[in-house]
């Protein structure tokens, strides 16, 4: 008997809850790996998807209909080009703005906060972001550098409101309003899509997104070189800033509270591989991320730590979380070791090498997936997915990953 979309939806949601809670589900869940792939497959360029949301939705529908994954993603990774252009966003390059039409947007490394500005950030993060970071990173919002300081609005603070009257400030407000309208349109499209796929029986794999406290400071404020050097140059300031970043992390992640599948995707960048020593990781990275994750877990949220590189050296730390509450998405990591260290504590996801998806055969894919299920999926605790988000793949390889998991991944 065919199952209704509602039944399929519930079944898929339950499957994910089971693996997160380290119970044995009916079978290994499989994610429909995203990024550029639905557009690549649907013959839509990323540039089109970033500009024409209907086209983006159409490509994602085609993808989910034809591949039938357990978890879908929607078009949220195709950022909206219009508001980015209106705002004059400087920290990314994207198709049509420095990159070809079908290339994922990429981050432009820079020091958007100097070492000397730690104190200012620590004293009043909101004011620093509004009057320094925002004008530096969005050319359309440069006038916000003279935004009146709200922390001293009491008594005669209103006398500083004259700054709002300048033509430059009016222009920045006009841009902010226009960009805001565009962002709303984009979100409407995203939630429309998520509702549509839910009606077809597919849950969305994210409820919100987040960044580890160290990466909040390191990616978009200090830059990679800046923050790595700060570890030695001004460790105390960095630790103070990390305390604030942890609060920001919790604010971001709390948006997942109450969702049917409250998955908070945490994009781990500088915590992987050999960026820093184990001692540095245990001082500047992990305790803050862990603290933030525990606060999310308290709200019933599932932290999904998305590691984009090898994390073998971090596995022991990763195991120090409450049992059955966290997913670690891994890449280029020894699954045998990961299962041995994390298997009793957390769910593992991913690690299918993207190069196999792109250049291998369906048999190569099946061979890897069989091994991954045998090793990482023993009695549950594993979600099938590629090592990193998918841009290119032979369709038959992706089909092989998903269909083989549905067949071989059944727990009897």
């Amino acid at each position: 008997m065919t199952k209704s979309p509602e039944e399929l939806y519930q079944e898929r949601v339950q499957r994910v809850w089971d693996v997160v809670q380290l119970k044995t589900p009916d079978r290994v869940p499989v994610f429909g790996p995203y990024q550029l792939y639905p557009y690549t497959y649907g013959g839509v360029t990323l540039k089109e998807a970033m500009n024409d949301y209907a086209k983006a939705r159409e490509a994602c529908h085609k993808f989910v209909d034809e591949f039938q994954p357990d978890l879908d993603f929607g078009h949220i990774l195709a950022y909206p080009a219009k508001p980015m252009e209106i705002l004059g966003l400087k920290y990314l390059k994207w198709p049509g703005h420095g990159l070809d039409d079908h290339v994922i947007y990429q981050y432009v490394e820079d020091e958007y906060m100097t070492e000397a500005e730690y104190d200012e950030f620590i004293a009043d993060p909101s004011d620093f972001m509004l009057t320094k970071w925002v004008p530096r990173t969005f050319s359309g919002l440069e006038a916000f550098s003279s935004f009146p300081t709200m922390r001293r609005m009491m008594w005669s603070g209103w006398m500083g409101l004259g700054a709002f009257a300048s033509p430059e400030m009016r222009e920045s407000f006009r841009i902010a309003i226009e960009a805001g309208q565009q962002v709303n349109e984009w979100f409407e499209s995203i939630f429309q899509y998520n509702d549509e796929v839910k009606a077809k029986g597919f849950p969305t794999a994210w409820a919100t997104f987040d960044w580890p406290p160290f990466d909040i400071i390191g990616d978009t404020l200090r830059g990679t070189r800046g923050i790595l050097s700060d570890i030695l140059r001004c460790p105390d300031k960095l630790l103070e800033a990390l305390e604030i970043a942890t609060r920001i992390f919790i604010e971001y992640g709390s948006a997942a509270a109450g969702a049917e599948l409250p998955l908070c995707w945490i994009w781990m960048h500088k915590g992987t591989g050999k960026f820093m020593s184990p001692e540095q990781f245990e001082t500047f990275y992990w305790p803050w991320l862990r603290k933030g994750m525990l606060a999310l877990i308290d709200q019933g949220i599932i932290p999904m730590v998305y590691c984009e590189a090898d994390v073998e050296s971090r596995l022991e730390s990763f195991a120090d979380v409450p049992k059955g509450k966290v997913i670690y998405h891994v890449a280029q990591t020894d699954l045998v070791k990961a299962k041995a260290v994390l298997g009793d504590t957390a769910c593992i996801m991913g690690n299918v090498p993207n190069i196999i998806m792109q250049t291998g055969t369906p048999d190569d894919v099946k061979e890897y997936c069989k091994w991954a299920i045998d090793v990482a999926g023993k009695d549950g605790g594993y979600i099938m997915d590629t090592a990193v988000m998918l841009d290119e793949a032979k369709p038959e390889n992706l089909k092989a990953m998903i269909d083989f998991t549905k067949e071989y991944g059944v727990y009897r």
Binding site: K93, V103, I104, I231, L232, K274, M276, I355, V388, L390
Partner: protein
């Protein structure tokens, strides 16, 4: 004093190292000797990075110390002194479509302190630019960097273009970066994959015969 300077830099005592540099120059020490000492210190840093007593923070930090010393010393150099004969020439760049530079810069830095003559073509480098530079500079090694999976095909196209231009046999090609591994190396037609910057130095030395 030279030995002391080497240790101060390698042990991350930047403030004391800069003070000592000023002191040495004030008492008439050869600015070239100061630069040589800094370079020797960076070789020690490279070794500590290789044996994992140092990680990227130490590499970035001591790199900044080196830059600060060079800023003090360089205006006082009479003329560009004869440097050691480089071990060999290497052309490096992040392949077309990819704009990531951190990994490439670290590899460039370590190759440089290991006395290779490194020609860094930057990021998003078209295949044609690699070919022109290979013809112009005549390097023994070409190093392709890439962070994204899109770099698989970009690297493959670059290697193919180098082949088509008839200069593939003149160079050894190594790849490195985010999602690379030996499988990718085979796919793109490179000679080797390096998991980190120290492997890049080892590969270059093995190929060129520096050690």
């Amino acid at each position: 004093m030279k030995e002391k300077l080497i240790n101060l830099i390698a042990d991350k005592h930047e403030k004391e190292a800069l003070e000592l540099v000023e002191e040495m120059l004030a008492q008439g020490d050869d600015p070239q000797m100061v630069l040589d000492a800094s370079r020797e210190a960076m070789v020690i840093v490279g070794q500590r990075f290789e044996d994992e007593t140092y990680f990227l923070p130490e590499l970035v930090f001591t790199g900044e110390t080196l830059r600060k010393i060079a800023e003090i010393v360089k205006p006082r150099l009479q003329e560009k002194a004869a440097v050691d004969q480089p071990l060999g020439k290497i052309v490096i760049g992040t392949v077309a479509g990819d704009i990531h530079d951190i990994g490439k810069d670290i590899v460039t830095f370590l190759l440089d302190v290991n006395n290779f003559d490194v020609h860094d073509l930057g990021i998003d480098v078209p295949a044609q630019k690699f070919i022109e530079t290979i013809k112009d500079v005549k390097p023994e090694v070409v190093a392709l960097s890439g962070f994204l999976t899109l770099a698989y095909d970009s690297m493959r196209n670059t290697v193919q273009a180098i082949q088509d231009a008839g200069v593939r046999d003149d160079v050894k090609i190594m790849i490195g970066g985010g999602q690379m591994d030996d499988k990718v190396s085979t796919y793109v037609g490179a000679d080797a994959y390096g998991a980190d910057a120290t492997v890049a130095v080892k590969l270059a030395k093995a190929w060129i015969g520096g050690e």
